[in-house]
Point group: C2
Chain length 168, copies 2
Amino acid sequence: MNTGNATTAEAACTDALPGAALSGPVSHAVSRVARLHRIAAGKLLKGLGLYPGQELLMMHLWDAGPVRQSELIRTLDLDPSTVTKMLQRLEQTGHVRRRPDPDDRRAVLVEATDRSCELHTAVRDAWGSLEEHTLAGLESDERTELTRLLAKVEANLCQETEGCPERG
Amino acid sequence: MNTGNATTAEAACTDALPGAALSGPVSHAVSRVARLHRIAAGKLLKGLGLYPGQELLMMHLWDAGPVRQSELIRTLDLDPSTVTKMLQRLEQTGHVRRRPDPDDRRAVLVEATDRSCELHTAVRDAWGSLEEHTLAGLESDERTELTRLLAKVEANLCQETEGCPERG
DNA sequence: CACTTTACCTTGGTCGGCCAAGTAATGAGC
DNA sequence: GCTCATTACTTGGCCGACCAAGGTAAAGTG
């Protein structure tokens, strides 16, 4: 549509703003912010030898110690196959060790390697710096409000999506 | 959890909340919300034969008519290779047509096929419904505030990331 | 006009992420 | 004990998204 001719008033209007931003401004913003945020995380993690997404897994491992893969899946709320593949890569890069659970021969126990633990504080710092970068210029009450609103949105999207952890 | 020993006070603390949520609550929320949002979009788009991400490209095509691939790249603010591959798939599924730009033999002109235009309103509706689902239970002023805060965050992340379109 | 730089796009590889389908072990009901 | 459903994880396939590197054509420069 609008195949070149700008006879309609709409044309001039939709010129500046993509149509998606009109149908769903927040949806549009969410995807853009998420992408930029991921890129920013990637840059910070690059020097640490991690890819965005992996740091969340590792952080849980550092905090919780050896856990079953199923718990990782529940906590990170990811598809089982996603976690499997992430762990295969993390194992190959030496960040993670896996061994069979003696109590349940189906299950796999996962733990962070000693070597990876050296990254612990660096990753935490990276996330802190990312958070600061993300929220730069926002007042304290704005940050609180944003957190609150995002939580509400998350709850909305959890609805019916089913499969997200119920948290008190 | 906590490898058995719960000698530190922290241990009890980090039990309920993942460490990532503590180092960066908003960062954590952003990635979670984005993922859930994408899944929700995927479900709505599935019946339309589109994958999440493709709808943004198509919406721009429907609004703007035939455009150069480079303009799509700029507008969507994606990596060129990403757009190339998306277009190859969209072409194969018959949503898009590509032809060389007569004015510039390097460039490629992209346009939505007639068949795809039938999806136009359906996609728009899907996005509207997604937006409503996302923002359910939020008052009008809360929505405004969320939009404003997300825009601020986006601007922050654009900073230094460089490569995002400068919009007035 | 030749030469260099820049712009446009493609290819190949890697990751996170999903779904669908499959294997294997546990647990519940009979 | 035997069947059957559930749980735990893996494999393969696909998509969005990135980067790095390459090829071709246009524009800038001498």
